[in-house]
């Protein structure tokens, strides 16, 4: 201790400040319970200008009662907040910036508000922090975005303040943990107060204040794909993926995106997959929400386990009745966990299979289209090769493409796209709109969803490009051109080169995989309507009204 002075500062400033703030609402509380008529008053007493506030909301579940209340606090009292949000989804998430209640934002996804976000950045109504993947944002909650306040949602609370979050646990425990254990204040809206919880998902000692909302929190059925809308082109692509990727590389664990392409794969496993004798050999373990289109594969014994990011409206009873497959609590109901499932999807699966809106000539892809800043969500976590991975699986090892003593495997990152979107817009483009959007919004880097050098396979209605086999950038480009149809990128292809790539296994067309295009019929789908899915589930799946037409 030679001459270096110890600082004499207080080590409990956050804890002291929390105590002072909580004392201000003492008269409004009964235990931890706050009457919902007092929520605005309480927020004005608990929040200070400039606070870092996490407002819970992802692409499914929203703390909607608390976001509405925050939008009604006086901007004279509460202003300049630094918001941290997984997803900017609801109108008031941006209204608070127009009113000056909030000033800066760090977020992950803004699909439902992407035009307004772009406008407000341009108009400087909103000061942009960074755009993250889900995992990065959760990570920063523990590093340099430590919250002063967390506004979150749960299904039920008991009188002590224990919480049940059930199937929609999602990121609630993660947000609360970062806040509660660094002396932030945790405010929870619940749908109801009960004497006894089905199970405790989050203990009362992590919680400071509970309010029973006037309405249940907003919850979207985001992962329900009506099989009625699956086209024969998508079925063809699904067949190619099953044969040319899952079978070829023995893909046993995986994550799927939410598109109709991947829904088609899920529905082809019990039919087409069965015919190929692949049951028990592929698609056994999943990091996936409880997609209703997974039901036939589960019921026919294809699937051993599914860990979920979140729940899915209508799947509660079904998941509860299949505890060997899903993660459930002692009470029987599903427990999801977005942070854990993102980690699983990043490190523990063989393959990620997703879709996108634009792919450039080198295979970089983005869902950002002109003037809309939609962010990332979780796809990049799954859609890249995690270089810290050390365990091997057959699929991972099968990606080794060099003779070297230290050669290592790779995660399969598969993009499934039709060469044109609706409205005649090519998916394969010379240059991503993301580049222009980055300039407009002053972003440090262009918002690329998945980088070309992470993509191992691209599947289109034309065929499969096995990009992991490319030995150079030129080869990667040529393989992409071969499957890019009549888009500007596809028109560059050279027929002789394409034939050579087919022989070398860099490109495969349906006939190379012994698939006849005429085989791709809707009759191959294990379920052709939501009604069929309900039947497969023995009536345990209860689709929301908008998917019912019987």
């Amino acid at each position: 201790m030679s001459g270096i002075k110890k600082t004499s500062k207080s080590w409990t400033t956050r804890r002291d400040q929390k105590a002072v703030r909580l004392a201000k609402i003492d008269h409004l509380l009964k235990g931890k319970l706050l009457g919902n008529a007092h929520i605005i008053e309480a927020l004005e007493l608990l929040i200070s200008p400039g606070d870092k506030v996490v407002l819970e909301g992802d692409n499914q579940k929203q703390a909607s009662f608390l976001s509405k209340a925050l939008n009604e606090v006086s901007a004279d009292k509460i202003n300049g907040l630094h918001m941290i949000m997984s997803s900017i989804s609801r109108p008031e998430h941006l209204d608070i910036f127009e009113k000056g209640i909030a000033e800066k934002i760090d977020f992950s996804y803004a699909g439902a508000q992407s035009l307004r976000v772009s406008q407000m950045i341009e108009d400087e109504t909103l000061k942009m922090g960074e755009i993250h993947t889900y995992l990065e944002l959760y990570g920063r909650l523990f590093i340099d975005l430590i919250p002063n306040i967390a506004l979150v949602a749960a299904d039920k609370a008991d009188a002590q303040g224990n919480l049940y979050t059930g199937a929609n646990t999602e990121e609630t425990p993660t947000i609360i943990e970062a806040t509660a254990f660094k002396d932030g204040i945790v405010i929870v809206q619940v749908n109801e107060l009960v004497e006894e919880l089905p199970r405790v998902d989050i203990p009362a000692s992590w919680i400071d204040c509970i309010v029973v909302a006037d309405q249940p929190y907003q919850l979207e059925a985001l992962f329900t794909r009506d099989p009625r809308h699956i086209t024969e082109l998508q079925i063809l692509m699904a067949m190619m993926t099953i044969r040319g990727i899952y079978e070829r590389h023995s893909v046993q664990s995986l994550n799927h995106g939410i598109g109709f392409n991947t829904a088609a794969i899920e529905l082809l496993l019990p039919t087409y997959g069965e015919k190929l004798g692949l049951k028990g050999k592929i698609c056994k373990h999943w990091a996936l929400n409880p997609h209703p289109t997974l039901i036939p594969a589960i019921e026919s014994g294809w699937i051993e386990s599914v860990h979920c990011f979140g729940g899915e409206v209508g799947m509660e009873q079904y998941t509860a009745a299949r505890p060997d497959v899903f993660f459930t609590g002692r009470d029987g109901s599903l427990r999801s966990n977005r942070a854990m499932c993102q980690v699983a999807g990043q490190y523990a699966v063989d393959a990620f299979v997703g879709s996108t809106l634009q792919i450039d000539g080198e295979g970089n892809s983005s869902t950002v289209t002109s003037g809309r800043l939609s962010g990332f969500g979780g796809a990049p976590n799954m859609g890249h090769d995690p270089r810290g991975r050390r365990h091997s699986t057959p699929a991972w090892l099968d990606m080794i493409n060099e003779q070297h003593e230290l050669a290592r495997g790779r995660k399969l990152v598969v993009q499934m796209v039709e060469t044109f979107q609706s409205g005649n817009e090519p998916v394969f483009v010379e240059s991503l709109d993301a580049i222009k959007v980055a300039k407009q919004a002053g972003l440090a880097t262009a918002p690329v969803m998945i980088y070309g050098d992470d993509v191992t396979h691209v599947v289109t209605e034309e065929g499969i490009a096995y990009l992991y086999k490319a030995q150079s950038l030129d080869e990667r480009k040529a393989a992409l051109e071969a499957v890019a149809g009549v888009t500007p990128i596809g028109l560059r292809h050279n027929q002789n080169k394409v034939e050579k790539m087919r022989r070398d296994g860099l490109v495969a067309f349906p006939e190379d995989l012994q698939i006849r295009r005429t085989e791709a019929k809707r009759s191959l789908l294990a379920a052709r309507s939501v009604e069929d899915l309900v039947e497969w589930s023995d009536g345990l799946y209860n689709p929301p009204a908008k998917f019912r037409n019987w």
Binding site: R90, P91, S114, L115, R116, Q119, S370, G423, N424
Partner: protein
């Protein structure tokens, strides 16, 4: 969720349109008030002969829009957000109480006169369907000359875009657009090259007049034409009304901002249905309905359901 009122622009007019509204919803005081302000019977302006004159078209569309709003108001119903396409924006300004009916009507008349007198002949507008903004922009840049200028005008939907300028240049652009894969191209029956720099003179004249009107901050959010922004201040809305005539109408963005603000019911004011179709196509999860083609009873039930 919330309800947006959309006010149609040129193209929606037809002979007898004001008479139809009067037969449907009454509203005699509105037509009387308008006739008094203009010193002429407005019900004489909606004949096919009179509608050949651009000024009359603008006046009739504006009155029709306000009349529709008033019939809702008489039932105690108002929108959560408003926006109008081009001339329609003046109806939206009245609906959100930024301008009075009289103030707006005089401005509309002035706007019509200025536009009509700006370019006697040889100018107009065309529409391209099936190409994107950047594709049309590159064609326009290639073909526009100082002697025969042409511009991208209104962005009605991602693949329905109008162009303005000299007739010759428009024809060339349409021809090239067809070659480049446009689904459909056509000349519009419009004699004025609206929403492009050729209207800058009109815009500054209109700005002078509009400054004289005080205006009030809007009672409900107003989405502007020029940048598709939610506008809160009377001054910003007045500027948008003046500037818009020489700038593209970002209509698709306007309706998308409404959607992001929570709109799930779009009601198009009489006499239009074009904006209804555009909204229905862009937002399959929302409902879009034309007031002119529905009964007030249906409209009120839908509004009530939406606001629950």
């Amino acid at each position: 969720m919330s309800v947006a009122f959309l006010f149609p622009g040129q193209g929606a007019q037809y002979a007898g349109m004001l008479h139809d509204i009067k037969n449907k919803w009454g509203l005699a005081p509105t037509f009387e008030e308008a006739s008094e302000v203009l010193n002429q019977d407005v019900l004489s302006l909606d004949s096919s002969e009179k509608l050949k004159c651009n000024k009359n078209v603008q006046i009739c569309l504006f009155i029709a829009g306000v009349a529709t709003v008033r019939s809702f108001k008489n039932k105690g119903c108002s929108p959560d957000v408003v926006g109008g396409h081009s001339i329609g924006a003046f109806g939206a300004a009245v609906a959100s109480e930024v301008l009075s009916f009289k103030e707006a009507l005089l401005l509309v008349k002035k706007r019509g006169e200025l536009m009509e007198n700006a370019y006697p002949d040889g100018y107009g507008m065309g529409v391209v369907m099936g190409l994107r903004e950047h594709q049309i922009l590159s064609i326009v840049h290639e073909l526009s000359t100082d002697a025969a200028p042409v511009y991208v005008a209104n962005l009605n939907s991602p693949d329905q875009i109008t162009i303005s300028g000299t007739l010759k240049a428009i024809e060339k652009v349409l021809e090239k657009a067809s070659k480049k894969g446009a689904r459909k191209t056509k000349m519009l029956h419009v004699t004025v090259p609206s929403h492009c720099p050729l209207m800058e003179g009109v815009s500054s004249e209109l700005r002078k007049t509009i400054t004289e009107v005080k205006g009030k901050d809007p009672a409900v959010p107003f989405i502007g034409n020029c940048k598709a922004r939610k506008l809160w201040k009377a001054a910003d809305i007045k500027e948008d009304l003046a500037a818009s005539v020489a700038l593209p109408v970002r209509w698709h963005d306007t309706t998308e901002v409404m959607y992001e603000m929570g709109t799930r019911l779009y009601i198009e004011m009489a006499p239009g249905r074009v904006l209804t179709d555009l909204a229905a196509k862009s937002f399959p999860e929302a409902r879009a309905i034309s007031a002119a083609e529905s009964t007030m009873k249906t409209l009120l039930i839908l509004m009530e359901k939406e606001k629950m």
